[in-house]
Amino acid sequence: MNENTEIDKNKDKPAQTHKIGIYLWIWGLLFVLSFFSYMVDWYQFQGILRWSLILFFMFLKAGLIMAFFMHLFWERYTLVNVLLWPMTAIACFVGLMVAEAKYTFFSRLIYFVLGG
């Protein structure tokens, strides 16, 4: 116990903390954005409008969570880069699988639906 309090005194000053306001703001924004993305389904938007709105709200929410709740906004660039660059590999994978899905879909149309 004594040894620990000694160490606590020698420790650096308390780690950086952020004002409570920033968390409450992000929290509120996440609620509003979730409500908006729910409204996309409620009003039954279709087509490009639906997909672009879904993606817009999704990336905005994901960005807010990562930047402020997960503190990435305040981290040094090395960690941020190590975490975000691998996402390009996922984007490539998505691109590859879109092409693959189209190929499978048209093969199925030709052989299953049209009957070869």
Binding site: A15, Y23, D41, M70, H71, T78, L79, V82, I90, A101
Partner: protein, 234 residues
């Protein structure tokens, strides 16, 4: 985070080559456990991405119509079917618990033991409610005849993707809830104030653990954002 030692280091983009080329640690000011949690979350991102990409591929390549999720996941409220009602409530519950977790991390670093403990407990209860609603949703769909190989609403692949993706996410939430309860107890007991040594480790407890736990919990919320967008809304 020892900020005093970081002040003399290069900032911005210049910090990347200098940090990576420096001695001993690449992630300056990041406690090792936190760096390991981030690397674990990165690998978990890849697993969830593979699931969601396989779902995209399956849905885009089937010639049978995909079930209308807005209809499948509707819930009767006073006799009126409300589309995606349960899913919307689950989303709000998870965001609420993410908010309480963020505040718990803040109060942890301020060494406010009681507030930190209360907020972690609130987060755990939020997670528990989420898992409960997910169990309800699963049993409802199973009663309606949704199986991993077929379902009455449309393309047969729907069930397998639904159970796999939400199941894997639900497992993450459940594991998170268990750890939240464990850490709530540790906080209330004062482990992080006295530096009491942990059960699995001889190292002294530190409030940075709460931030690491928070990273995991926010990640679970983050994955739900993507599942909500791609699986339920798309």
């Amino acid at each position: 985070m020892s900020d005093s030692s970081l002040e003399n280091l290069p900032k911005g983009w210049k910090s990347v080559p200098s940090d990576l080329g420096s001695d001993q640690t690449a992630f300056k000011g990041v406690q090792w456990g936190k760096a390991m949690m981030w690397i674990f979350l990165l690998s978990d991102t890849f697993i969830f991405s593979c699931f969601l990409i396989s779902y995209m591929k399956g849905r885009a390549s089937t010639v049978v119509d995909w079930p209308n999720t807005s209809h499948v996941f509707s819930l009767d409220f006073m006799g009126v079917p409300v589309p995606l009602l349960l899913i919307a409530i689950m989303t709000f519950v998870l965001i609420t618990s993410s908010g309480t977790m963020a505040l718990a991390v803040k109060y942890g670093y301020e060494k406010n033991r009681k507030m930190c403990g209360h907020l972690i407990l609130a987060t755990a209860i939020g997670g528990l409610i989420f898992v409960g609603m997910q169990a309800f949703e699963w049993s409802k769909l199973i009663h309606e005849g949704v199986r991993p190989w077929s379902n009455p609403f449309g393309a047969g692949q729907f069930g397998s993707y639904f159970f796999m993706i939400t199941g894997f996410h639900g497992t993450h939430v459940s594991i998170g809830v268990i750890f939240l309860f464990i850490f709530a107890r540790k906080v209330y007991r004062g482990d992080f104030d006295t530096g009491r040594r942990g059960f699995f480790t001889t190292m002294k407890s530190d409030y940075v653990s709460i931030e690491i736990l928070g990273l995991y919990w926010h990640f679970v919320d983050l994955v739900w954002v993507f599942i909500f967008a791609f699986f339920y809304l798309w």
